[in-house]
């Protein structure tokens, strides 16, 4: 016996609607299943990450304790680094004394240096020479040393008794 449907035809859904509804229900069921799997996967992954993080944190705390036990060494190391930084800056400047010691030992013996002024700007030199050839030897020594960017002849004088008087500024 066929089922009796007393509903008016307006209240009976169309076949297409039933099909669509069933499709949506299927999609929803599949979607829900997939979503559940994804959520479980994410939860699992999150738990794994959490355990990894905890493990790292535990090891790091252990390392911190070990480093804290070496605090004295750390302070000394830090102090040494700090001092070295300052010393490096002081030592980075060129020593003018080195230069004057280097060139002065090569001057001819007849040349008499009367005044040497050493400063951060350069070296001032006043010397007497009995003859012109000794002056050229002095200049040659300075030139060959390659220690100075420039040599300025500040004054040049001659006296029949003491000879030549030369003032140089080397920088």
């Amino acid at each position: 016996m066929p089922p009796i449907n007393l509903l008016p035809t307006e209240l009976v859904p169309k076949k297409g609607a039933i099909k669509t509804s069933n499709l949506i229900k299927q999609v929803t069921t599949v979607g829900f299943t997939v979503l559940s799997i994804i959520i479980m996967g994410i939860i699992g992954y999150f738990v794994y990450l959490n355990s990894q993080f905890s493990s790292l944190e535990r090891v790091n705390n252990q390392l911190v304790t070990e480093i804290e036990a070496l605090e004295g060494t750390e302070q000394q190391f830090f102090l040494t680094k700090n001092r070295l930084k300052g010393i490096k800056e002081v030592y980075s400047a060129d020593s003018q004394l080195d230069k004057i010691l280097q060139i002065k030992s090569s001057f001819p013996p007849e040349v008499q240096v009367s005044e040497t002024e050493v400063s951060s700007e350069g070296i001032g030199l006043v010397f007497f020479s009995p003859n012109a050839s000794s002056i050229s030897k002095v200049l040659e020594t300075i030139y060959q040393s390659e220690l100075f960017d420039g040599v300025l002849l500040k004054s040049f004088g001659f006296n029949p008794v003491s000879g030549y008087t030369v003032t140089l500024l080397m920088s």
Partner: protein, 239 residues
């Protein structure tokens, strides 16, 4: 009464948008849409949490690398760090080094057979890098080369470190007099350590060379006065 109610209901539905087919689809569609919204929200939250945790792990891994490196380096330096700190602190002391420098000046001048006169200590000044300097002036008398070598020794061989800022050497018949200004350097100790997770680097080759130079500097002679041991007091009234 019941049939009248049913008719009314049918009338209402006929005139509205909500047909039977729509009602039939609406419920599963609503669930689907809700589920989609839920998917978006849940995935969004989940990914942000996972990413945040991944970032935390990356940060902890980086910290671990720094801490491991720091621990190994400090363990390796444990035996040497004290002597390094001592040498560098003597070379660049914490406070005004005038007295230590004077002691060194006396000892070096005797060694080079030169005499020191008109010694004055000027004001302390600070340079750009935070290293402070003390300006000390004095006259040196002696043989020309002795005077120059003496000045060179001050610059290169003694602790605390100093540089000759100005020297006016006048010579007469082999004897020389140098009006000298010397900068003696010092610097205040750092007041705080770097953060625990801040990386530290071991000494560079340049720093090792510098440390070797500093260990060869003449250290100032400090005299430590021992407390006098109390002896037995003699009773002056006892014969």
């Amino acid at each position: 009464m019941a049939s009248k109610k049913l008719n009314l209901n049918i009338e209402f539905k006929k005139g509205s948008f909500r047909t039977a087919s729509f009602e039939y689809i609406f419920k599963p569609l609503a669930i689907l849409v809700t589920m989609l919204i839920l998917v978006i929200v849940v995935l969004n939250i989940a990914f942000s949490r996972v990413n945040a945790q991944k970032e935390n792990i990356a940060k902890e891994e980086k910290n671990q690398e720094i801490l491991l490196n720091k621990r190994d380096l400090l363990t390796a330096l444990k035996s040497e760090s004290l002597s390094y700190a001592d040498f560098t602190t003597t070379a660049l002391p914490n406070g005004n080094p005038a007295l230590i420098f004077l002691s060194q000046l006396k000892s070096v001048s005797e060694e080079h057979s030169v005499t020191i006169q008109n010694l004055t200590a000027g004001a302390e000044t600070s340079n750009k890098t935070g290293v402070q300097l003390l300006d000390m002036s004095f006259d040196v008398e002696g043989q020309v080369l002795d005077v120059l070598r003496f000045l060179k020794t001050l610059e290169t061989e003694i602790a605390p470190i100093a540089t000759v800022s100005n020297a006016r050497v006048t010579e007469l018949a082999g004897a020389a007099r140098a009006e000298t200004s010397v900068f003696v350097y010092f610097s205040e100790f750092p007041t705080k350590l770097s953060a625990l997770t801040e990386p530290i680097t071991e000494f560079t080759n340049e720093e090792v060379d510098l440390l070797n130079t500093l260990t060869n500097l003449r250290q100032p002679a400090f005299l430590e006065l021992e407390p006098k041991v109390e002896g037995i007091r003699i009773n002056p009234f006892e014969y």
